[in-house]
């Protein structure tokens, strides 16, 4: 069996068009009959499903985390659990005797249970979110990660979604914005990263930060410039100077913005865009081949 190809579509700056690119690319490849999954890893604000409405919900499962429950009848108020917790998620006072678990900042590492010598700590499940699997054909699926509103970290939910996509030949990740933990946990599992940016000083600054992060992780990448024509040349100059592949350039066009606003897919409407996204896929495959094998 050949190794699955995993491609993340990411950007430092929010709203550059990650979901626009990943949903169109998935739509095209899925309709061509490829064995492909799109994983919506932006669990805080998952949007891919708004564009990909044809899939049928096959399964939805909970993602939980273990949080400690302290039995105060067994607790001796020694304070060792609070000392072991590196997230300050256990509030402890010796006098008066108070021990409280702050569930929302608990990372579920289990250190407090190990710390307790009195059997006073057990664990319960805390709901972090859901992973839903929408089937498009027997060969393709959208797998959505979605946190419960109020959950601090989306990492466990998006990791569970990525796990569910193992088994597909081609996996696309619609990555969360930024360069923090959700981004890192997503791209860490990809073989190639497509960075989407816009040709403005903000776009460039955020692109540079993403690239610096990817370099540290030894991940190959290429760039898509969205809304070309707005802004200035700083991004193009940078790509040229650094010899970074420009995978695609999408002109700013109010019609594209309008059709996006309605949840429409360009690759369903216009053969020109079908072709452009095909070209993008070929280019990504080529870059992926150069960098991975």
């Amino acid at each position: 069996m050949t190794k699955p190809m995993k491609i993340a579509i990411a950007s430092g700056k929010g709203g550059t068009g990650k979901t626009f690119i990943s949903t169109n690319l998935y739509n095209l490849l899925q309709k061509k009959g490829l064995n492909v999954a799109l994983v919506d890893c932006d669990a805080e604000e998952p949007n891919a499903r708004l564009f990909l409405t044809e899939g049928i919900l096959k399964s939805s499962r909970e993602v939980n985390q273990k949080v400690p429950v302290i039995d105060e009848s067994k607790c001796t108020y020694c304070g060792k659990c609070a000392e072991y917790c590196n997230y300050n998620a256990i509030f402890f006072l010796k006098e008066p005797k108070i021990v409280n678990v702050l569930e929302e900042i608990c990372h579920g590492c289990g250190a407090c249970s190990v710390a307790c010598s009195y059997g006073a700590i057990t664990e319960k499940d805390d709901l972090l979110g859901h992973v839903s699997n929408f089937e498009f054909s027997n060969k393709s699926a959208l797998i959505e990660s979605r946190t419960r509103v109020g959950v601090y970290s989306s990492v466990n939910v998006l990791k569970a979604a990525i796990k569910e996509a193992s088994g597909f030949d081609l996996v696309l990740f619609d990555a969360p914005p930024g360069i923090g933990c959700p981004f890192i946990q997503t791209v860490a599992q990809a073989d190639y990263v497509v960075l989407v940016t816009e040709p403005t000083p903000y776009g460039l600054s955020d692109l540079k930060q993403s690239i610096e992060t990817l370099k540290g992780m030894d991940k190959p990448y290429g760039v898509i410039v969205n809304r070309a024509g707005l802004g200035n040349d700083v991004v193009y100059d940078y790509l040229k100077k650094e010899n970074i592949p420009l995978l695609m350039s999408i002109p700013f066009d109010k019609n594209i913005a309008v059709s996006y606003s309605k949840g429409e897919l360009l690759t369903d409407q216009d053969s020109k865009w079908k072709e452009k996204f095909s070209e993008l896929f070929n280019k990504v495959k080529e870059e992926y081949g150069n960098s991975n094998n």
């Binding site: 600054s205 955020d206 540290g216």
Partner: protein, 285 residues
């Protein structure tokens, strides 16, 4: 007064609106809390006066002189961050959450803990007052912590210099860094756009702000991209009893202002959009 500008969905215009709000004031403390993608320093080019190291977290490192590859740490680690490879125990750095449990249970005391100390926060002056911004070092992860440091610093500066207003430019999303950006503020402005994604993300963001019982209002940016969707957003806000304090048209001038390193209200004070932004801002003063 502390006002936070957030959005749920990225790219709706938070930073442009924060920049405009900040320059409508004589004196303000501007806190850029989008530490993953801080941009306002590009616009205002502040004179940096103070740099502060932030310990964003900790990571485990194996001391191979002591490690006997017993693998006990592998069983304890819940982040799948420790693996055995060629009879050697190895930590996958990106998966390590910094809980320290492995170092506590290691019978050989072979696991050291190192601080992640490359992230910084900066404080400086710009033409309309003071500015605090953070920079998450590539590979470091705890954005929520850096956001709270940025806010603490902004509050301290405001207090010391007698500046009354703090404007917070928040991050996208509704996770730890967004939550850290809004807890305890006097007002939250959620900037949205008239798209399906915009409305979807707005709903989740408003759930967060109402959960924290924060005074919240909404700005619909680029409303003319899809007026039908804008009406839907307005209806939704009315239903939730949330005031829409501004509806701005799409205007390429906003990008031009950014390229020229100015807020839109400084760059084109007489443009319609600048007037609309001023009107929104007046509702908070």
């Amino acid at each position: 007064m502390e006002i936070a500008i957030i959005s749920g969905k990225g790219g709706t215009g938070k930073s442009s609106i924060s920049a405009a709000f900040a320059t409508l004031q004589k004196e303000v403390v501007l806190a850029d809390c989008d530490v993953d993608a801080a941009n306002l320093f590009l616009l205002f080019n502040p004179v940096c006066e103070e740099e502060q190291v932030v310990i964003s977290g900790q990571k485990a490192v194996i001391d191979y002189d002591k490690c006997i590859a017993c693998g006990e740490c592998i069983d304890y680690c819940r982040f799948d961050a420790i693996v055995e490879e060629n009879n050697r125990v190895k930590i996958i750095e990106t998966f390590c959450d910094g809980c320290l449990l492995c170092s506590r249970i290691c019978p050989q005391e072979a696991i050291d803990i190192v601080d992640e100390d490359k992230s910084r926060i900066y404080a400086g002056s710009f033409k309309n007052g003071r500015m605090v911004y953070g920079r998450l070092a590539p590979g470091e992860e705890n954005t929520g912590k850096i956001v709270s440091k940025v806010r603490d610093k902004a509050k301290q500066i405001a207090k010391e210099s007698g500046i009354k207003d703090i404007i917070i430019d928040g991050p996208p999303g509704i996770g730890c860094s967004a939550i850290s950006s809004i807890t305890g503020v006097d007002a939250v402005v959620v900037v949205t756009e008239p798209t399906l994604s915009g409305l979807h993300d707005l709903k989740r963001t408003l759930e967060i702000t109402s959960g924290f019982k924060l005074l919240t209002s909404v700005i619909i940016n680029k409303y003319d991209i899809n007026e039908e969707m804008s009406s839907k957003i307005e209806e939704y806000c009315a239903q939730k009893n949330i005031e829409v304090v501004g509806k701005y048209p799409f205007d390429p001038l906003v990008v031009e202002a950014m390229v020229n390193c100015q807020s839109i209200t400084d760059f084109a004070p007489d443009a319609e959009i600048s007037k609309l932004i001023k009107n929104s801002y007046l509702k908070f003063s």
